[in-house]
Symmetry: C2
Subunit: 137 residues, 2 copies
C-alpha cells in the first residue's frame, strides 16, 4: 500500500524485535526501498537469532500501524518496504527493476468524490508508474 491517510501511527507497545525491524528501515536514507530479505539481513546484524517469519510478521504489523509502508509494485517479484513519508507515488523501471519515489498524490477531494460516487470506503491509494529510467535509456 502506498499512501496511508488514516492518521499518525497508533501508540502501542511493540515487541523488541519489531523495534529492531523498524530501526533497520529507519536507519537508511529516505527514499530507499528494502525487501523483506534486506530488512532481515539488516535486522539480523543486531539480533542474529531473529527469524525470517518474525520479520514478515513484524513488517505486517508495522505496516498496519503506519510505522512503515509496504509497497506492492506491479511487475516486481516481491514487495518492498519504506519508512513513512509524505504521500507519494512510485516509479518502476521495467528494464533494471529499480524503484523510486515520485512526489505526487491525488487530491483528497477527488478520493472523497470517488468514494461517494461508487459507495466505497477508500482507505489506501496507490499510484505506480512503469517505464524506463534515465540510465536505462
Amino acid at each position: 500500500m502506498s499512501s496511508n491517510f488514516g492518521g499518525s501511527p497508533a501508540r502501542e507497545r511493540l515487541p523488541a524485535n519489531y523495534l529492531t525491524i523498524l530501526a533497520a528501515i529507519r536507519d537508511i536514507a529516505p527514499g530507499t526501498h528494502l525487501t523483506a530479505q534486506d530488512v532481515f539481513a539488516r535486522a539480523r546484524r543486531q539480533r542474529p537469532k531473529l527469524g525470517f517469519a518474525t520479520v514478515h510478521r513484524g513488517l505486517a504489523r508495522l505496516s498496519e500501524l503506519g510505522y512503515v509502508i509496504k509497497v506492492d509494485v506491479p511487475g516486481a517479484a516481491c514487495a518492498v518496504y519504506e519508512q513513512t513519508a509524505e504521500p507519494h507515488a512510485h516509479f518502476r523501471c521495467s528494464s533494471c527493476g529499480s524503484i523510486r519515489d515520485i512526489a505526487f498524490s491525488l487530491p483528497p477531494e477527488l478520493l472523497v468524490g470517488l468514494a461517494r460516487q461508487h459507495d466505497l470506503q477508500i482507505e489506501v491509494e496507490s499510484t505506480t508508474f512503469t517505464g524506463r529510467c534515465a540510465s536505462c535509456r
Copy 2:
C-alpha cells in the same frame, strides 16, 4: 499494469492457442477479472490439452501486445487479467478481496509533466484504491 496508452494492439500473427486464450477473456462481461487459473479453466474447455505454462506465456504476450491487461493489485494473492478497455483504476476490498473497475485516469499532461520533471519515460500508469466495498460495510 493497469493502463496502456501506447496505442492499439499491433497486428501480428498469433498462435492458435493464444487466440483461444484471448477468446476466453473476451467472451465474458466487461469489468470481469480472471486469474490465470480462471483463464486456464475456460480456455481448456476449447482445447483440453492446453498446458498451464502456455496460458501464462500467452497472457504475457497478449498483455505485451495490448490485447489484454494484466492487473497487479496490491494485497491480492495473484494477478488478474481483463480485456482492454477505457483507462480506469481498480478498487480492491480488503475484506472480501473483490476487485472492481473505477472510471478514473490521470490527465495525460500530468504524466508528461512528471516524466519530464524526473527524466523518465512513463509507459504505464496504474492506480489502485483499497478499502471496503459497500456490501462489506
